[in-house]
């Protein structure tokens, strides 16, 4: 009779966000599911939501058998969830009050035939497909012995199977149950096709609700505990990773961080859909940077949500206005939703689910959580870590650009080491803000520790806040030290003065050399003139000497001629 595993088993959708994903569609169709949990764990709400969804969305009318509370009270309590149970009555949703009256006298064994035969007719009349037996343990407790209890539960189970109803039976599992090995109704877990356990614990003062599918015959399911929340529209179960999630498109679009120089440092800004982490000690302007991002997003016309765990939204708007980040108008036109979630109550899971719901309602494209570190005040470390991871996963799958800030404890060591929320490893971009204390000043610095998939500046910049906004200044590094604030200013000034002096002395040297050069030139001219004079003199001297000599020889000739004595040495011509 068993269907081959390839064919998906028919499921009855519960309409509970997250639960249908965990179980791949809902409760086993036409089978029985057991829902166990302590008092106040949400069994009744789960069951009601299952019926309301069936009646409204699946055309599956349902019957609610109330063993514990009266139908009217249940409906009144569920009023706030907006399921309109009153309108579904009695045609699509039938309530049977089955509380044993307090003055009921028990005298011996009994069975549930009266109820079941009545319900059989009722179910046939209204073509019911779903049925809930809420708090079956109440009536079971009246039965005299374990054998009778077992008999009645099997009777009920048979009855359900015979009619092909999708049944949901809820049972209280209290401390007394645990004491008995496996509890009074342990065998029921073997009998049913699906068993779900709800748990409500308080860990370190924070309330934490979890849901776990214990068994599910013939279906794969998420076996882990999943946190859940009873929100304004009912159950909301948080799925760690939705099974069978198609790969999301990886966006390449860049969006502004709200600070233009930071965009430059990031080679164009954040990636859309990325998760950005800003870490820093308190007062390092984490909120301011977040605000700048939110403002830029709103200015682009994107719906944005700003969740603050530290301050009221009004305070944030006022404080950010002092650095020219104007959020008020975006709140007014509805683009920006400011959510103040003071870190007083609730577990990390609660926050996560609440944030998800609010973001969905707001249709946010950009989300700021300031600071995410509040979470590890509430709840165990392990679960908080997984919450941060899930937050990022979820934002990614929704294409929401997520900016989280994390407050670092000033007592603890540098950036990386051991906060339970190791969100930094999963974040795409990590910006670290720090203080540099020098010469009696604290100055803010900004550096990009990592930014996946983008070229980014390796430089530490000084973060300047003024009433005209945020700017980043180059830090002054000289002789291997980084200077900021007035030291940077002083250093810049003194360097400028030094440069000026250098220039002046160079100028002086140049003038001097010019003068020497000019002098040399003058001297050269004078010498040239002298040279020419000397040359002339020399020429004159030569001519005079020659003239004299020829005169002399001419004189000798004449003398010889006159003497006529020496027969001619001279060759006659």
């Amino acid at each position: 009779m068993r269907a081959p595993p390839v064919i998906a088993q028919a499921k009855a959708a519960t309409g509970i966000a997250g639960f249908d994903e965990i179980t791949g569609g809902g409760l086993p169709h036409e089978r029985t599911t057991l829902l166990m949990g302590g008092p106040g764990s949400g069994k009744t709400i789960f069951s009601l939501q299952f019926l309301a969804h069936g009646a409204q969305a699946c055309k599956e009318p349902g019957i609610f058998v109330a063993f514990e509370e009266s139908a009217d009270r249940i409906i009144a309590n569920a009023e706030s969830f907006g399921w309109n149970l009153g309108k579904l009555r009695p045609k699509r949703l039938y309530f049977l009050d089955a509380q044993p009256p307090s003055d009921l006298v028990h005298a011996g064994d009994f069975d549930l035939c009266a109820m079941l035969s009545g319900l059989a007719i009722q179910a046939a009349d209204m073509r019911a497909r779903r049925i809930v037996f809420d708090a079956l343990d109440i009536v079971m407790a009246l039965l005299p012995d374990a054998a009778a209890r077992r008999r009645e539960i099997y009777r009920l189970h048979e009855w359900l199977l015979e009619r092909g109803l999708t049944g949901l039976i809820t049972l209280k599992s209290g401390d007394d149950e645990a004491a008995e090995k496996g509890g009074k109704f342990h065998f029921m877990q073997f009998m049913v096709d699906c068993a779900v356990i709800l748990d409500h614990t308080v860990m370190q003062g924070a309330s934490q609700r979890t849901l776990r599918v214990q068994k599910y015959r013939g279906s794969s399911f998420d076996e882990n505990e999943s946190p859940f929340l009873i929100g304004s529209s009912g159950f909301e179960v948080d799925v760690a990773r939705p099974q069978w999630r198609p790969d999301t498109d990886v966006p390449t679009e860049r969006i502004s961080s709200g600070v233009s120089r930071l965009d430059t440092m990031l080679d164009g800004g954040y990636y859309r859909g990325a998760s950005i982490l800003i870490t820093g000690y308190s007062g390092t302007a984490k909120t301011t940077l977040s605000g700048a991002f939110a403002e830029a997003a709103c200015a682009r016309g994107e719906r944005t949500m700003f969740v603050s765990f530290d301050s009221d939204s009004g305070e944030i708007i006022r404080n950010l206005a002092s650095v020219d980040i104007r959020l008020a108008r975006h709140v007014k036109n509805g683009r920006l939703s400011m959510v103040s979630a003071r870190s007083i109550a609730g577990s990390a899971e609660n926050y996560l689910v609440r944030i998800k719901t609010l973001a969905k309602e707001h249709r946010a494209r950009c989300l700021v959580i300031d600071p995410v570190s509040t979470w590890y005040k509430s709840g165990a470390d392990l679960s908080t870590y997984s919450v941060a991871e899930r937050l990022i996963d979820w934002a990614k799958s929704e294409g929401i650009t997520l900016l989280c800030t994390r407050l670092l404890d000033e007592m603890s060591g540098p950036a990386e080491n051991g906060s339970p929320l190791q969100i930094s490893t999963v974040a795409d971009t990590w910006i670290h803000l720090n203080y540099l204390i020098q010469a009696g000043e604290r100055n803010r610095s900004l550096s990009i520790i990592k930014s996946r998939g983008t070229a980014h500046s390796n430089q530490v910049r000084e973060l300047l806040l003024s009433n005209s906004g945020i700017t980043l200044a180059d830090t002054y590094s000289a002789d291997g030290e980084v200077l900021m604030g007035t030291l940077r200013w002083a250093k810049e000034r003194s360097a400028a003065a030094e440069a000026e002096a250098n220039e002046a002395s160079a100028e002086l040297g140049r003038v001097k050399l010019d003068a020497e050069e000019a002098e040399l030139e003058v001297r050269m001219k004078a010498l040239q003139v002298e040279l020419v004079a000397k040359q002339l003199e020399k020429a004159l001297l030569a001519r005079t000497t020659r003239g004299h000599a020829s005169e002399l020889s001419r004189g000798h000739q004449r003398m010889r001629e006159l003497r006529g004595a020496d027969a001619s040495k001279a060759v006659p011509k």
Partner: protein
């Protein structure tokens, strides 16, 4: 000495289920012993009249309802514990 009042009972049974039959037997014995005919028993089989059981708010079978005299009483079970049943029905001291 006035006539004892008429006891009106309604017993919801589930066909011939064992505990339902036991209840009927126990009730008959109890009435004949303590009420000497001043009683009326209306037996309703929930398998034959399922709507009625639902309308009357009967969840369990067997259920005995004492319609009169006041006070109205509902007793669930085989009615085997005679003392308890008598006490519940106000018949502790039948000769009084």
């Amino acid at each position: 000495m006035s006539r004892p009042p008429l006891y009106k009972f309604r017993l919801y049974v589930a066909g011939d289920a064992l505990n339902s039959s036991q209840a009927l037997v126990n009730l008959n014995a109890l009435c004949s012993h303590h009420l000497q005919g001043h009683h009326q028993i209306d037996v309703i089989d929930v398998f034959e009249e399922p709507r009625r059981a639902l309308a009357d708010g009967i969840i369990m079978t067997p259920t005995l309802v004492k319609l009169g005299p006041a006070p109205y009483r509902k007793i669930v079970g085989t009615l085997g514990q005679t003392r308890l049943v008598l006490q519940a029905l106000g018949l502790k001291n039948p000769d009084g």
